[in-house]
């Protein structure tokens, strides 16, 4: 997709933090795997395996789930340690609505911030005003209305929420199918039906019009939340996402190097079953999984944010 939201300024000096620059970095990540890491060594393993980016954390989501309590932005020294270890872009998470954590992450020079439901929300009504930052944001969604609200607030990349830390892809599939299905539905609607669907989805009208016109999200859309094998990654790619986040699925597996490299290969060759068969061989155990239905509603990360 060409990024043409912002018209050229006639004053010709370098312009940083523009929409095209923010959304453009997400374009460069397409077809790639973004991996959660908690140490510089893990970050190097991820980079060597072909990750397009790493998410710097203190704990992966499955450990956050176990630890309970309030989960906050990582210690800046942890993020800096990881930024210094690799040459690929480094992402970090702030709490939903915690714009000061976002300001701190911008000050550190983080390349992308994930305003994430995996951390404990700081604001149950409002998300961060992402337009006011030069640093780009990615946000989670369960459906198209949620995706378009986040884009309206300035998110330049979207991911499914899935259910992080479970190693169970079922919620990521549900959210990706919901978003894709709603896009197809809007695309085939009559123009005079768009305001009503915009009302029903609580989505900005101009973005609903854009989806109607183009048949796709205005920004890159990744899958996240439960991807734990090469086949999971390829499944999400075949469902139409642009790339995948893998959280606990790599460093909670038996052999992280092999798993990381195989998921990277599967994200490129997602339509080639022969290649996927080769990539899936001999990887050892995936991360221990969790049945989403055993998690009580108030312990599900996906229901955080709106």
């Amino acid at each position: 997709m060409a990024i043409d939201h912002i018209s050229q300024d006639t004053n010709n000096s370098p312009k940083t933090g523009t929409w095209r620059v923010k959304a453009g970095l997400a374009q460069m990540l397409k077809g790639g795997v973004i991996m959660d890491v908690v140490t510089a060594d893990q970050a190097k393993i991820a980079e060597d395996a072909g990750a397009v980016s790493v998410m710097a954390l203190e704990r992966v989501p499955s450990d956050i789930r176990k630890a309970g309590g309030v989960a906050r932005m990582a210690d800046p020294s942890k993020i800096i340690e990881i930024m210094d270890a690799v040459s690929i872009p480094v992402m970090a998470k702030c709490r939903i609505g915690h714009f000061v954590e976002a300001q701190i992450l911008e000050s550190l020079g983080v390349d992308y911030v994930d305003e994430s439901e995996v951390l404990t929300p700081a604001d149950e009504n409002n998300h961060v005003d992402k337009h006011s930052f030069k640093m780009p944001f990615v946000c989670g969604c369960r459906n198209l209305g949620e995706a378009l609200r986040r884009i309206g607030e300035g998110a330049s990349m979207i991911r499914t929420k899935g259910e992080a830390g479970t190693g169970n892809v079922v919620e990521a599939v549900r959210h990706a199918r919901t978003v894709m299905g709603e896009i197809r539905r809007i695309q085939t609607m009559n123009k005079d039906e768009l305001m009503a669907i915009s009302r029903d989805m609580s989505a900005p009208f101009d973005l609903v019009q854009e989806v109607h016109r183009t048949g796709k999200l205005p920004v890159v859309n990744f899958a996240a939340g439960g991807i734990a094998s090469p086949a999971d990654a390829a499944l999400m790619m075949q469902l139409g996402v642009d790339g995948v986040f893998v959280g606990s699925g790599i460093f909670k597996s038996e052999n992280p190097q092999l798993m990381a490299s195989a998921i990277v290969g599967a994200t490129t060759h997602f339509e080639d079953a022969d290649e996927l068969a080769k990539l899936s061989k001999g990887l050892g155990d995936s991360m221990p999984g969790l049945d989403v239905h055993t998690i009580s509603a108030d312990e599900q990360f996906a229901s955080r944010g709106w």
Partner: protein, 193 residues
């Protein structure tokens, strides 16, 4: 009618295909060696250069790519693609394909918050300055005598270079609707550039 291959290992290859489509040019996604036969030109898109090079090696594309380009296949690399084409990098990795006599420095402007847009003049591109989008962009630190500099920015470092049938840009024409550099590359492919 020429067919242009777009290396589809990772990155914004789809945007290059759309630009080629706007020019009425056939394109083909290149993921494995056999896809390379019968193409008239090749684009290496933007993306993460470490990832692209890893996968070029993992899926054994390196030798075939080098052979094809050395025997005259026109190729254009944008951003990560420029890094892949270089004969040496200022940084220790990845290991580029050594196809063009340029030394390239990765992330030369710093982290993402320093990514920028700038209108620049490019030799051989008619009309108003080109809207160049630099995203964690590389620059050409040094280049050999055979390399023609098509555009530089204020600090004097080249951001668009050509060596015969090989073209490289630090920025991303595929992220705009301005197809003038795609047309320039098609002139090279069709032997008129």
């Amino acid at each position: 009618m020429p067919t242009v291959g777009v290396l589809a290992i990772q990155g914004d290859f789809h945007e290059h295909k759309e630009a080629l489509l706007r020019l009425g040019v056939n394109s083909r996604e290149i993921r494995v060696r056999s896809h390379l036969s019968g193409i008239d030109g090749l684009i290496i898109p933007g993306g993460e250069s470490t990832t692209i090079v890893q996968l070029i090696d993992k899926f054994q594309l390196r030798d075939t790519l080098i052979d094809e380009v050395n025997s005259g296949l026109p190729v254009w690399g944008t951003c990560a693609g420029m890094i892949v084409l270089a004969n040496r990098l200022t940084e220790s990795r990845p290991s580029p394909l050594n196809l063009m006599d340029i030394e390239v420095s990765r992330n030369a402007f710093g982290r993402q918050i320093h990514s920028f847009e700038l209108d620049i003049d490019i030799a051989g591109v008619q009309g108003p300055p080109f809207p160049a989008i630099f995203i964690r962009a590389p620059i050409v630190k040094n280049c050999g005598a055979m390399v023609k500099i098509l555009a530089s920015i204020e600090n004097g470092f080249p951001v668009a270079v050509r060596q015969g049938h090989i073209l490289a840009t630090s920025f991303h024409p595929e992220l705009t609707n301005d197809d003038r550099i795609h047309r320039l590359f098609m002139d090279i492919v069709e032997g008129s550039g």
